[in-house]
């Protein structure tokens, strides 16, 4: 696993999402309503659109193209038409920085 | 260095007549104007070209990329590199070149029209029959990573002959940009057998447009083989414009490793009393992916058309993916129109039968794949091509 600094905490207001890159992995980084940061693979498992261009809907992120929803904690699908869960990656905060851990 | 307008002035393209240079410039402008196809375009939805960077390739194929081989040709037959014909037989070439496949259908189609390099012009006058097949061999050379041959075939009334386009990659793993397009004009009552065998190197990007126009009572027997390239997109189209026209479009493909093959076909019945028969059969191994999308179009007034279209996929591994989209648009009721698609594994009963005879699994598998292709191989229009294709399959299935 490799740890990448992807943003500073100040970059993301609460209840917002942002596209970042952790090495070669495109990541949808979320600052959720519970105050925590979450990282999901940015590519929707349905038809490969970018989740970070969608919207947060409570603890779910919603794909802009067809409205598929994924839970931020687990990556599980919470709304069709996607059926394959999104990959999630561990996030850590250090100082004012956000780190995401991805496979090598 | 990328391909630019300056490339048009390169030695490989010098000595061409003005009309052709003008066309190349126009096609280049079209290329620059058109966007890259995106996932929101239906035709490209499953065909990802985002990994293809044209600017990575700049070395045009040199002039010796084409080897033509034919027996003694009857008087009046013209067989020569297309670029020579553009000067010497302008009246035959100019009105036909790119008028079937176009030069603005998408970026790659335009790029091909702007930079096509090698290629053949074949003209067979009215009533002439050629017994020996004519062989066009297109060889990619080390250093030439931009290889875009174009074949233009004109069959006069009642002409009869066979032609083979063979696209041969060298052994290098070098990636490159390739196409192998063909335009075939079938005059009244002509009979043409056309075979293309694509075996570029495994890292090539291949984009090809093949289109035939069939006049009254003409017969086309087309056979396509796709084996090479890591990405291959081929359009195979036949326009039946005269009654009695008959197009047989057959193809086989064997996709393995990380290969991606895309086929788009069109059987366009513009007039009645025409017949088309299409069968595309493919086997997929490893993590290969294939897309077949075909359309039978029966225009209004094309009564008594008879059209058949089938796509059969044999999926040999857990991770291969096959997409099949056989489509019909029928605007006349007095037709016979059937299509079908299948995607499936080797029939376990067949496998069991062979294994129970003591045949090892790998051999049994090869036999079953060969058996799968068997019925369509019978439709290869001439012996030379058949021998070549069977040998090629034998090696690859080994």
């Amino acid at each position: 696993m490799a740890r990448h600094r992807v943003a500073s905490v100040a970059d993301l207001a609460a209840d917002s999402i942002k596209r970042v890159d952790a090495g070669r992995f495109p990541i949808c980084l979320a600052h959720a309503e519970d105050g925590n940061f979450y990282a999901l693979d940015d590519t929707c498992t349905h038809e490969e659109f970018s989740l970070s261009e969608g919207e947060l809907w409570g603890m779910d992120v919603e794909c802009p193209q067809h409205g598929s929803r994924f839970n931020l904690l687990t990556g599980k699908v919470t709304g069709l038409p996607a059926v394959v869960p999104a990959k999630t990656y561990p996030v850590t905060l250090e100082g004012g920085d956000v780190y995401v851990e991805v496979p090598d | 260095m990328a391909i630019t307008a300056a490339t048009l002035g390169r030695t490989e393209l010098q000595g061409e007549p003005g009309w052709l240079s003008d066309r190349r410039r126009a096609a280049l402008a079209t290329y620059e104007r058109l966007p890259m196809p995106s996932k929101t375009d239906e035709e490209w939805r499953r065909t990802d070209v985002s990994g293809f960077d044209v600017s990575a390739y700049s070395e045009l194929e040199h002039r010796e990329g084409l080897k033509l081989d034919a027996g003694r040709l009857p008087a009046g037959v013209i067989l020569k590199p297309l670029r020579e014909a553009a000067s010497e037989n302008r009246e035959l070439v100019e009105p036909r070149l790119f008028s079937l496949i176009g030069s603005d259908r998408d970026r790659f189609n335009a790029l091909h029209a702007a930079f096509f390099t090698g290629g053949t012009f074949l003209y067979v006058p009215d009533g002439v029959v050629i017994e020996e097949p004519i062989l066009g061999r297109h060889l990619s050379h080390a250093g030439g990573n931009f290889v875009l041959p174009h074949t233009l075939i004109v069959a006069g009334r009642g002409a009869r002959f066979h032609y083979l386009d063979e696209y041969i990659g060298d052994d290098s793993e070098e990636s490159g940009y390739r196409s192998g397009s063909a335009e075939i004009y079938l005059g009244e009552g002509s009979e043409v057998g056309y075979v293309s065998v694509q075996k570029w190197g495994r890292n090539a990007w291949h984009f090809a447009d093949q289109r035939a126009q069939l006049q009254k009572d003409s017969t086309l027997r087309l056979f396509d083989v796709t084996l090479g390239a890591r990405f291959s997109k081929t359009r195979v189209e036949a326009s039946l414009v005269g009654p009695g026209a008959d197009a047989e479009l057959k193809a086989i493909y064997l996709a393995s490793g990380e290969q991606f093959f895309d086929f788009h076909t069109l059987q366009d019945h513009q007039v009645g009393n025409t017949r088309s028969d299409l069968l595309f059969k493919g086997a997929l191994q490893d993590v290969a992916r294939t897309v077949y999308a075909g359309l039978i179009k029966i225009e209004k007034g094309a009564a008594r058309s008879d059209a058949y279209q089938a796509n059969r996929n044999l999926v040999l591994s857990d991770h291969a993916k096959a997409t099949s989209i056989p489509m019909l648009e029928i605007d006349n009721n007095d037709v016979r129109c059937t299509h079908g698609a299948t995607v499936g594994p080797i029939d376990p009963q067949h496998m069991f039968y062979l294994r129970s005879r003591g045949i090892p699994e790998a051999t049994a598998r090869r036999m079953l794949v060969q058996g799968f292709f068997g019925d369509v191989l019978d439709r290869i229009p001439f012996e030379h091509a058949r021998t070549l294709i069977e040998a090629e399959l034998e090696t690859r299935l080994g």
Partner: protein, 469 residues
């Protein structure tokens, strides 16, 4: 319409139909689509805040999404010239005399009873079957079955409602799902508890109120484990509406070992654009069946789909489309195999006549890991003359191992041999053709309740005579 005479729907409307009629608010129906209309709809219905938010957001999504570039030509729809919400009392503002003569004639020929006719024609909001509904309702309640209109369900069963609403078909799924979510009204809500089998088909018919046949109805059906329900919407008689756009959304959840059948007979008058999204999510060893007949409308775009989520799930679509002059039926089905050992079939029968156009559009998708699946699609099209058109667009994506997928389609005319055979027995040509067409769609009619099957055959006869539309 707003200026036309109104019919009093009675003072006990709220009790009977669960529909709130504000007394001190003069609602004037307005054309056009904007946040104010959406807010008004939500306000009139006294909805919770979350639903208002969802409606407004859906309106935004609707605005952003491009019109589909495939399928039928929808460019003529003028979204600003449509009533998005009409109070029940606004709806019966027509008189019987105002109805187009062809519609009246069809009612006569089909033998539809007077009361029912007026209801179908939008002249009356009531119809005698309310009695049937009330006794049925009691029986269902005893078993714990909820069968109500969707507006009432939001009010009376908020938890159940919120858990599923919009999770099968999110507003962003497509432009018309977004539109529906923004302005939905009416539709059916059904919950069948664990192990309960509802023996008689539930018909939207029973639950008559004017909302029921709305333009933007929203239906949600939840079949709990081991349950069974058959729901029927529509009817064979043409339903007349002066509104040109009908865009419904139907969401269905079929849990383990349950079975749901959803039968539709769509026969909108031929001025209607019918753009409907229907989708079911099916779990282990459960079955979803869509029986879908499309006869009316100017344009229909409808592809009932089934998501096969767990092993043993099964999906069926049986679809019939009839397109006459000026009509385009773009219909089909989608089967999304998510889990291994799931099976699906789609059978489509279409008939085009007098320049009508039918299109089959389908999608079979087998996801990676959904091994050992079987799917079979069969499409038959009958073209009755040389002005008519038929298309077939089947998309088949197989990404799993050991999958057997087959697709077959044929397009033909009425066979000369069959015609000759019947005519040689003294049957006139027109009648012989009708018999052949009825035979052609028999796999469909035999799945219908008897009274529907009889009416459908009668209707086909009418269509064949060219006396309809």
């Amino acid at each position: 319409m707003a200026t036309a005479p109104r019919v009093d729907v009675g003072s006990d409307y709220k009790e009977k139909y669960g529909f709130f009629v504000p007394e001190d608010y003069v609602f004037k129906a307005k054309r056009g689509l904007n946040p104010e209309i959406v807010k008004e709809i939500s306000w009139m219905k006294k909805e919770p805040e979350w639903m208002l938010k969802m409606r407004l957001r859906s309106l935004e999504i609707f605005r952003k999404k491009p019109m589909p570039t495939w399928g039928a030509d929808l460019s003529v729809i003028d979204f600003e010239n449509i009533f998005y919400y009409l109070r029940a009392s606004d709806k019966q503002s027509k008189t019987w005399e105002e109805l187009p003569p062809d519609i009246k004639k069809t009612y006569d020929r089909l033998g539809v009873p007077e009361a029912e006719r007026k209801f179908l024609a939008g002249v009356s909001a009531q119809y005698e079957s309310e009695v049937v509904y009330h006794s049925l309702h009691e029986e269902l309640s005893k078993k714990g079955v909820i069968f109500t209109d969707t507006d009432s369900a939001l009010r009376d069963h908020p938890e159940l409602f919120k858990e599923y609403f919009g999770t099968i078909i999110p507003p962003a799924d497509n432009k018309f799902a977004a539109l529906n979510t923004a302005v939905w009204s009416g539709g059916s809500f059904i919950y069948v508890p664990k192990g309960v089998r509802v023996d008689i088909p539930l018909q939207a018919y029973f639950r008559i109120n004017a909302e029921n046949m709305g333009q933007f109805e929203r239906t949600l059906i939840i079949c709990d484990e081991g349950s069974f329900v058959h729901y029927i919407e529509g009817c064979t008689a043409p339903i007349y509406t002066s509104d040109s756009l009908h865009s419904a959304v139907v969401e269905i959840i079929v849990k383990k070992n349950a079975r749901c059948r959803y039968t539709t007979i769509q026969n909108w008058s031929t001025n209607v654009f019918n753009l409907v999204t229907k989708r079911a999510m099916v779990f282990g060893d459960a079955t979803m069946e869509w029986v879908d007949g499309n006869l009316g409308s100017q344009i229909t775009m409808k592809y009932p789909s089934v998501y096969l989520m767990e092993p043993g799930a099964k999906g069926d679509v049986l679809s019939v489309a009839f397109a006459g002059k000026g009509q385009h039926q773009d219909a089909g089905g989608k089967m999304i195999h998510v889990a291994p050992n799931t099976t699906s079939t789609i059978t489509s029968k279409s008939i085009s006549k007098n320049g009508g156009r039918t299109s089959y559009r389908g999608h079979i998708k087998i996801y990676p890991g959904a091994n050992n699946c079987k799917s079979f699609v069969k499409c038959d099209a009958l073209l009755l003359d040389d002005e008519s058109r038929s298309d077939t667009y089947p998309y088949n994506d197989v990404d799993a191992e050991n999958v057997t997928l087959g697709h077959e389609a044929t397009v033909s005319k009425v066979s000369d041999e069959q015609l000759f055979y019947l005519m040689s027995r003294g049957i006139p040509r027109a009648e012989a053709e009708t018999m052949i067409v009825n035979g052609f769609i028999e796999p469909f009619t035999k799945e219908l309740p008897l009274e529907y099957a009889v009416e459908l055959n009668r209707l086909i006869q009418l269509e064949m005579e060219g006396s309809v539309g």
